[in-house]
Amino acid sequence: MIRELRVIRSHGTQFVKDLRKQRVSDLFCGRPVISGNITHDEIIAASGICPLAAIDPGNGALDLGRCAFCGECALLLPDRIRFTNDYRIASNSREALKIMPGEDSVLRIDEKAVRKEVRSMFRGALKLRQVSAGGDNSCEMELNAAGNVNFDMGRFGIEFVASPRHADGIVITGPVTENMSEALNLTYDAIPEPKIIILAGTDAISGGIFAGSKALNRKFIDEHLIDLYVPGNPMHPLTFINGLMDLLNIK
């Protein structure tokens, strides 16, 4: 008993009190800011080095849904592109993930696009079934971490459950492999209506570095309405939880 108490004392409290304002390392790659003064040549250069074609060579928009957050563009053009450590980069709008030059505001959820039943049904309790479809296990570990003693999203009634029959939605990680496509469909079909779909991580949102691989089958993603995109490689637990708080309108 005394030894247990000693462990508990050493352990202390690591609970993140305010999930909205927790500070993370300055090196963390969150929401990018691209200078409005970026020239066409610089856009071409940044787009050229980007390993995932996340930077539009035309208008210079950086698509967080494709970004691997390697930060190479910012290293190439430190005066023009920087990644802030703002981890609140999830959105229900695929278009909102495209950050334009000159844009420097917090990513917001498109309120009009939130389905009414999502908030009325799930705000107090949201149970999610996770399916990894080619995920590399880093997003999966971060989703596990979202429920651990540090981040504890269970405080909002948000939890992962084992059975799709008990779930209100599905969280997909990975670029969606052909070999996993049938199981993904079956799992989704087993969830009762109404239900939501969340894509966690760059691989799920766009295929990431695996985009274009013949081993993928992204039909499911293309054919369904997505309720929340959570960018990251992997996405940070704070990005995931903040995204859900925004979607459900939890203050």
Binding site: F69, G134, N137, V149
Partner: protein, 506 residues
């Protein structure tokens, strides 16, 4: 080696000229392989095929642990070869490689006692072979039943299908069917041509081993270009590898505790893992060490100031981890669940070709850091932790020992950094590779032996990239370990191995 037709790889990572690799007749290749792999201290690192004009070339890489060398040799067949005698019947650990070759190239290995599909890649030779038709082992008995689990499991983990053959609660046999995670890694490695793209792919081979696999890729890239990283960069990479090991081992300890409902162990270890991966984030911005390891240099210097903060945090982690593991492994309830559960004997470990920490928990001494040292391991007097229990308890205890060892290594290396004035360059994404080479890069990731190989053509372009994650071998070890166990003990056995699905499926 005397009487053996092979070229020896002298360095890790290193290259040999493709023309220097002796290609024998299949009979001779067969005999030589059986002779070599029958010896103590020798095991197969990789065995794979490369298609060239009109030929199908097979390359075999055998580790000679004592001599710190890799023996490379092969055989060459006509492009339409359909049948070869199976080595698996004589040397079971080779089954994974023969299954892979059979599936990719449409070759029948005659006499293979376990000729099963490995991962159903999109470009398999037989597109009519479907996952739903997997040829499961069958026991024709009215007294036994089958339990099928997955691919989607009751948690946030990767997909795979487990088929248990049970007699009552007792598992007679477990068959593991994988392939759901197949993303085409080896092909995408060729089709995405910049070094930066390939470095990012290597991080995603298995995201929980981002540092391990990206270090292996950096080794391939640098050795093909004939570049040697400076000492400081080698030390940084070694520290990153050991931090990855610490983080996962501590996280696995949490998961083991979780499976037997020992909450204090679970939550404290989860929080301790957070401290390690947050230290990684303080170093490079990513909790998994993605973007940290790049060929030719690094974008993220480990300054003395940052190193001291990391060392202080990890020292605290070590202290608390030892305190809580002291509690865990002295708890009679825990011991009752872990001891003699999921035992993998040393003979079974050999049979499976087990590598890494799973092998070392069963008394099988396999550790690339010792046998084929690279990076800073070459200059340190490292001796691996070794246990012989082979059960869940041994795999748990070995993690504890390795966390201590990793901390010791990190501490020593950070001390040595304080007086190191070298300047580490930025990554080099314009490396030019030498022509007609085979590069081999071995890294002891936290799970075990990672082996990357690359072949270049006459213009120095990579034409084959071969990845091997330690899980490829260790899945068989898990299947053997659960024989004669209660099926209810499967989760804790599974966690004690913690294998990679995507590392296997590629």
């Amino acid at each position: 080696m005397k009487g053996i037709k092979s070229i020896e790889l002298l360095k890790n990572p290193g290259t040999v000229s493709l023309n220097d690799i002796p290609m024998s007749e299949y009979d001779e290749f067969f005999r030589q392989t059986i002779t070599l792999l029958g010896k103590d201290g020798f095991h197969c690192l990789n065995y794979f095929t490369v298609r060239t004009e009109g030929r199908l070339n097979f390359y075999m890489l055998v580790a000679n642990d004592e001599a710190h060398r890799v023996l490379i040799y092969g055989h060459s067949q006509p492009a339409d070869v359909k049948e070869l005698a199976s080595l698996t019947a004589e040397c079971f650990p080779l089954h994974v490689f023969e299954r892979e070759i059979a599936e990719n190239e449409g070759i029948t290995f005659k006499g293979n006692p376990w000729a099963k599909p490995l991962r159903y890649p999109y470009n398999r030779a037989d597109r009519n072979a479907l996952m739903k038709d997997y040829p499961f082992y069958n026991i024709d008995s009215e007294e036994t039943h089958q339990v099928g689990v997955g691919p989607v499991h009751a948690g946030i983990i990767e997909p795979g299908h487990f088929r248990f053959h049970c007699h009552g609660e007792r598992v007679l046999h477990l068959e593991i069917q994988l392939g759901y995670q197949h993303r085409g890694v080896e092909d995408i490695m060729l089709s995405k041509e910049t070094i930066l793209q390939r470095a990012i792919i290597s991080e995603d081979i298995s995201g929980d081993t981002a540092v391990g696999h990206s270090t292996a890729f950096a080794g391939i890239s640098e050795s093909l270009a004939g570049k040697e990283p400076c000492n400081k960069l080698k030390i940084w990479r070694t520290i990153a590898l050991e931090m990855e090991r610490m983080a996962v081992h501590i996280g696995d300890t949490a998961a083991l505790c979780g499976d037997v409902a020992y909450q204090i162990g679970q939550v404290t270890c989860e929080a301790l893992r957070t401290m390690v991966i947050n230290s990684m984030q303080d170093w490079c911005g990513n909790r998994f060490g993605k973007r940290l390891i790049r060929p030719g240099g690094s974008n993220f210097p480990l300054t003395n100031e940052r190193a001291e903060i990391i060392l202080k945090t990890l020292g605290e982690v070590r202290h608390r981890f030892l305190e809580v593991t002291d509690l865990i492994y002295n708890d009679s309830g825990i011991i009752a669940r872990f001891e003699n559960t999921g035992t993998l004997s040393v003979q079974q470990a050999r049979l499976a070709g087990a590598v890494g920490m799973a092998a070392r928990s069963s008394g099988l001494h396999r550790d690339i850091r010792k046998s084929h040292p690279s990076l800073a391991y070459s200059n340190m007097n490292y001796s691996p932790a070794l246990l012989d229990g082979g059960d869940v308890l041994a795999r748990g205890m070995l993690r504890k020992m390795e966390v201590e060892l990793s901390f010791k290594i990190i501490e020593e290396l950070i001390m040595s950094l304080m007086t190191n004035n070298e300047t580490v360059p930025a990554p080099d994404y314009s490396l030019h590779y030498g022509p007609e080479l085979m590069a081999v890069s071995l890294v002891e990731g936290w799970r075990g032996e990672i082996c990357h190989c690359a072949l270049t053509d006459a213009s120095g372009r990579i034409v084959k990239y071969k990845v091997k994650d330690p899980s490829l071998h260790n899945w068989t070890a898990l299947a053997l370990a659960v024989r004669n166990q209660e099926i209810s003990d499967f989760p804790v056995c599974n966690k004690s191995f913690n294998l990679s699905y995507c590392g296997n499926d590629l």
